[in-house]
């Protein structure tokens, strides 16, 4: 089976909009952020301020590393603010970025998801690798 790669597709055409992404406010505890990730079946949680601006992200990998490093009881870790365990300056993409370039960026940084923000850093959605690659390969329509 041959596939035709469309390099003109933009991130905005493929990204998951915020209602389909785990998005939590800055005062949410770690346990609540994890629940959101499980509910929406994504390995990323985006933490935003009251205006919806991206403050940080939390990923499955961050949690794995935290569990190996932290010596706190799990019950104490659960009530920490999710924000304090987040990556504060994550790699981001914009809706007008090329999907091809964004997937290349994912590969380069070995990440599965990228938050999509506007020029004011307001969160617009998440670019998820499964969907991105499927659309890029023409397996799935945007």
């Amino acid at each position: 089976m041959s596939t035709q790669m469309n390099k003109n597709i933009l991130v905005s055409e493929v990204m998951l909009s915020v209602e389909f992404c785990p998005v939590v406010s800055e005062n949410v505890i770690l346990k609540e952020a994890l629940e959101q990730m499980g509910k929406l079946k994504l390995g990323i949680s985006c933490i935003v301020d009251i205006e919806g601006k991206l403050l940080g992200i939390l990923t499955d990998g961050d949690i794995r590393r935290k569990l190996l490093k932290s010596q706190k009881p799990l019950s104490a870790l659960f009530v920490d603010d999710a924000l304090i365990h987040s990556i504060r300056e994550p790699i981001i993409v914009h809706p007008s970025d090329s999907l091809f370039d964004s997937v290349t960026l994912m590969d380069k940084n070995q990440v599965w998801d990228l938050p999509v923000v506007d020029i004011h850093n307001k969160l617009l959605g998440v670019l998820h690798s499964h969907r991105a690659v499927a659309v890029l390969l023409g397996i799935k329509n945007e």
């Binding site: 505890i29 019950s75 104490a76 009530v79 920490d80 924000l83 304090i84």
Partner: protein, 295 residues
Amino acid sequence: MKMKKKIIEVGYGSVNKVKIGSNMPLAFIGGPCAIESREHAFKMADLIGNVCNKLNIPWIYKSCYDKDCRSSPESFHGMGMEDGLRILSDIRDEFSLPVVSDFSDSSWSKATGEVCDMVQIPAYLCRQTSILRAAAETNRPIHLKKGQFMSPWNMKNSIRKLEDFGSEQVLLADRGTFMGYNQLVNDMTCFPIMSQTGYPVCFDATHSIQLPTSMGNISGGQREFIPYLVRAASACGINALFMEVHDNPVAALSDANTVLDIQYLENILSQAKIVHEMRLELIEQFGEDNVHPNE
């Protein structure tokens, strides 16, 4: 990421204002456990005030009008809300002193908040949503005691409730944690853990040495440990010290086995103040505590 440290101010109207928080002088909260009579309440306010004035320690008078958590129905329950609050109000006026009292029933909160400069939530009720809501609705600073059954980090849930109900003036206290039955232990790490909420923390020394209901139908206590625990907590890092004080503990109508005899108050408070000030100097000299790189 460090939480912004909050400073609370206790005292409305013309009474002395007591600020409690980071880098502030150690505040004292004290008085007889229960309001026993008008004469006794005034006498204790005068005696404690003399010590605090001599040592230049900001303080808040504490006494309760209804002791709803007594072990026995035969024990002194308190003089009642109306009479008790009238006495506290008169003490405020007479001594220009902020006062604090607890309430165990939501319906008591409004009247308590109208008189008291600070309202207190008993440790056994520290996670009751209706009590927390009632406390927040008084719009007074709240003295929230960690339940003996609670972990210090789980107090954040009660804090979140209070914040949801509009309160951002909270003092978190440790009064010991159950270790098996009828016994308490003080875990000093609870102070830095509860401080991570951003709110000031308090050590309740006289309840920490309590042996809950250890004497069948009343609680015992080992008050000989008060000085040790006060020095330890002050060195660890607290913003306020709480102790129940009585001029004749043997005859005290409530918590007779734990209240501090007034004759030792100056000694204990002097030490607490010195250790507290030394801790602030150490922070000044060596910086905030941190042994984790990159944090």
